[in-house]
């Protein structure tokens, strides 16, 4: 069983593309269409990495990051944000401190590399205790 990655994206087609790509690379994926769904899955499934969009209905990525960080059970999970929001529009957002941000459109190689790095960090800091 691969490492657990939670994908959060409101564009169903991009969500599908991410899922195909990451599954093919050996990860176990769960999918969420917004922050609210993601939060529920994160609490029940304990993913080892969350890859999330920023602009989403119901609960956006900023709030999702905040909520994940507030809950001790989900706080250590590394988060990668994939967004089409330009850098200048999100520079002032405190919520994204310490979050790895990748600008859309992205390169698959870069996405996979960053995902593996974040998962590696997590493993070394003992975040795998849920497994």
């Amino acid at each position: 069983m691969g490492q657990r990655v939670l994908l959060v994206e409101d564009e169903p087609e991009l969500l599908q593309a991410l899922s195909v790509r990451l599954t093919a690379s050996g990860f176990a994926c769960r999918l969420a269409a917004n922050g609210l769904e993601a939060l529920a899955i994160a609490q029940a499934w304990h993913p080892q990495l969350v890859i999330a969009d920023l602009v989403m209905p119901k609960m956006d990525g900023y709030t999702l990051v905040q909520r994940l960080r507030q809950d001790p059970a989900t706080a250590p999970i590394p988060i990668m944000v994939l967004t089409a929001v330009p850098a200048f529009a999100r520079e002032s957002r405190q919520e994204l401190r310490g979050v790895h941000v990748i600008q859309k459109p992205f390169d698959s190689e870069q996405l996979l590399l960053t995902a593996r790095q974040l998962l590696g960090q997590n493993a070394s800091s003992g975040g795998l205790s849920h497994g």
């Binding site: 991009l14 929001v85 330009p86 200048f88 859309k104 459109p105």
Partner: protein, 666 residues
């Protein structure tokens, strides 16, 4: 004012009084109607207006005060003057409170009648003044109201602008998001296919997928350019300026574009002189400018060809150029080249040239944001050279800017702010023994050590001069904290073994600090205080005389030299300088050439003629082209020049050099 006789209504029940008053006034430019009772007078009042009302306080039917009240009601602003008998002053004063202009007391011998016309005229004059004042007041009110209206309009306009600005920002953000999201989906599925994740792909299909991917990437770059342009125009680009080293930056740009160039058989060359200073710029933006220009150059050059990137130092700036051996640009296209959405003229068979046409416009604006210029020369068929300039990195200016802004920030946040100056005391010896290049390396390494030590606090490090002095700028550190850090730095540096070549070098370090608000309140005080605390035995007690007729230059040089612990005298003219030299010996004279009364040549000759001053070294400060060595009758070994405009560092180096020569010759 009233023209002709002034109509007066007189309330007077005594016939004799009435007649005399009427006569007296009519002889003096008034016409007078008389009424013997209050009732009669008030009736008249309704029909005719008078300029002036003279009211006897004691009428048989109606009290004078009551008449006054009624007149003021019916004819507001009328000039009423009370005429009253002796002993009734109290009533008269009361009447004044009710709006009478004046009162006059009847004298038994009618003496008051001579004064009456004057009193009346004064009253009229006062009314005139009052009317004017009221008019003025009304106008002022009106203006104030208009001003308030304009202000309100401006406020509304301002709010509207802010709203539009936000809207523009939101729009840029939204458009970016909406365009990039579908691109991301397309790109990801394309690469899923290309990576065989969805099944096998034939070589032809592989090639087509590569074409799709290349075009998605191009669209992405066009969106980036459009957004950049929109951001620049909305004033949303903020430069993060700092020290930018040219060589690594240009090498990196060329490396990143090499695959593109090699595919077209275009060679990339870099020509940088030794000892090129850095620029004070936003590194990412300079990178963007270079990528744009070099990318264009490659695009418009057919192989075999060459693109050369070079940089040269000018007085205050660095001039970069990107030269190609490509198709060149038609002269008629040159003026439009830096405008938005301009495509270079399509050349048949040229596969590049497809984009939003924004690269040069963006580059131009980015260069201009830095205070630089961009231009080009081109020969159709032979190639083009694009040049741009960026301001040089002036250590002193940047240092002052850092301290100034840091201190402002601290004041604003009600925080402490400290400067720590560390100096490698044996830097001069190290420089002499190992050479400047090695010594600079040591300085760089030391900077790394300091940076490590500062890491925990919010701070910055600036290396000043070439004398081994480093200043650490720290926010939020109080006096005790600064002293502790200074001490830690000194120990860390001294315990460390630096290696130069194959040898181990130990440094002797002094570290001092100055803290706002405990010890100083302005940035200048902070700098001076922290530097004064550094022991500097080799330059102390050295006196320099500045001779210059320009007060600003005197002031500037005095400050700069005093900052280096020299004692400084200043003279505004040649005679002044000679006078001062009689009183006090100096170690060095900085002499301006072009001065009124007595020019620098003359001063120089007089100094050299006098045995007392003959041995004082002189540095002649001269503008380009003023040098007339022959007039001075000098040979190379005895004079020292510095040419205006000069860098402060060069002057200080010259001063040190001359002082050292003098010390050695003794």
């Amino acid at each position: 004012m009233h023209k002709g006789p002034i109509p007066v209504l007189l309330f007077e029940d005594d016939d004799g009084q009435a007649l005399l008053t009427k006569e007296a006034l009519e002889a003096d430019g008034f016409t007078v109607d008389v009424c013997r009772t209050g009732r009669e007078g008030l009736d008249r009042l309704f029909n005719t207006g008078y300029e002036v009302y003279l009211i006897d306080m004691k009428l048989p039917d109606i009290a004078g005060v009551e008449i006054l009240r009624r007149i003021n009601t019916i004819r507001p602003g009328a000039v009423c003057i009370i005429v009253t008998g002796h002993g009734d002053e109290a009533a008269a004063v009361e009447a004044m409170k009710l709006g009478a202009y004046d009162y006059i007391i009847k004298s038994p011998y009618m003496g008051h009648l001579t004064a009456l016309p004057v009193v009346i005229r004064e009253g009229l004059a006062r009314r005139q003044l009052k009317a004017e004042r009221e008019q003025l007041q009304t106008e002022l009110w009106e203006q104030a109201r208009l001003l308030e209206e304009r202000n309100a309009e401006l406020r509304r306009a301002n709010e509207e602008l802010k709203r539009l600005d936000q809207l523009k920002s939101d729009l840029i953000s939204m458009v970016s998001h909406e365009l990039r999201t579908p691109l991301a989906t397309m790109k990801e599925f394309t690469s899923i296919l290309a990576d065989h994740i969805a099944g096998p792909v034939t070589p032809d299909q592989q090639q087509y997928l590569a074409i799709i991917k290349a075009n998605i990437d191009r669209l992405g770059r066009i969106i980036d350019d459009l957004l950049d342009m929109a951001k620049i125009e909305a004033g949303r680009i903020i430069l993060t300026k700092g020290f930018v080293e040219v060589r690594p930056l240009t090498e990196h740009v060329l490396e990143s574009l090499r695959p593109l160039a090699e595919a077209k058989q275009v060679s990339l060359e870099l020509q940088l002189p030794q000892n090129l200073p850095g620029v004070f710029a936003d590194e990412d933006k300079v990178n963007q400018i270079l990528v744009n220009l070099v990318g264009n150059a490659i695009k418009y050059t057919d192989g075999p060809g060459r693109v050369t990137v070079s940089a040269v130092e000018r007085t205050n700036e660095l001039e970069f150029s990107v030269a190609d051996t490509g198709i060149g640009i038609a002269p008629e296209d040159v003026p439009r080249l830096f405008e938005k959405f301009q495509q270079l003229r399509r050349v048949p068979g040229l596969s590049g040239g497809k984009g939003a046409g924004l690269g040069l416009a963006i580059s131009k604006r980015l260069v201009e944001l830095h205070g630089g210029r961009i231009w080009l020369t081109s020969t159709p068929g032979a190639g083009s050279t694009f040049c741009f300039s960026l301001p040089k990195y002036h250590v002193e200016e940047i240092f002052h800017e850092c301290v100034r802004t840091g201190l402002e920030q601290a004041k604003h946040n009600h925080e402490s702010f400290s400067l720590i100056v560390t100096s490698i005391m044996n830097f001069t010896e190290i420089k002499a023994q190992y050479g400047l290049e090695q010594a600079s390396r040591l300085l760089k390494e030391a900077e790394g050590v300091l940076r490590e030590a500062v890491r925990r606090g919010r701070g910055d490090i600036v290396i000043r001069w070439q004398q081994g002095e480093m200043v650490v700028i720290l926010a939020e550190v109080d006096q005790a904290g600064a002293k502790a850090i200074a001490d830690r730095m000194r120990r860390t540096m001294e315990e460390r073994a630096f290696t130069l070549g194959s040898q181990t070098v130990h440094v002797t370090v002094r570290a001092t600090s100055a803290t706002y608000p405990d010890e100083a309140t302005t940035w200048e005080e902070l700098v001076q205080l922290s530097e004064r605390r550094l022991p500097r035995p080799d330059v102390s007690k050295t006196t320099i005389l500045i001779v210059d007729d320009e007060p600003k230059i005197r002031q500037f040089l005095k400050q700069a030299l005093e900052l280096r612990e020299y004692d400084v005298l200043a003279a505004a003219s040649g005679p002044d300088a000679l006078e001062q030299l009689k009183r006090q010996p100096v170690d060095l004279v900085l002499l301006d050439l072009m001065m009124p009364v007595m020019d620098g040549y003359e001063v120089y000759h007089l100094l050299k003629e006098d045995p007392k001053t003959r041995d004082i070294p002189v540095i002649i400060v001269t503008a380009k082209g003023e040098r007339k060595d022959r007039q001075l009758g000098l040979d190379n070994s005895t004079y020292n020049y510095i040419t205006k405009p000069f860098q402060l560092e060069d002057l200080l180096a010259k001063v040190q050099e001359v002082l050292q020569q003098r010390a050695a010759s003794r």
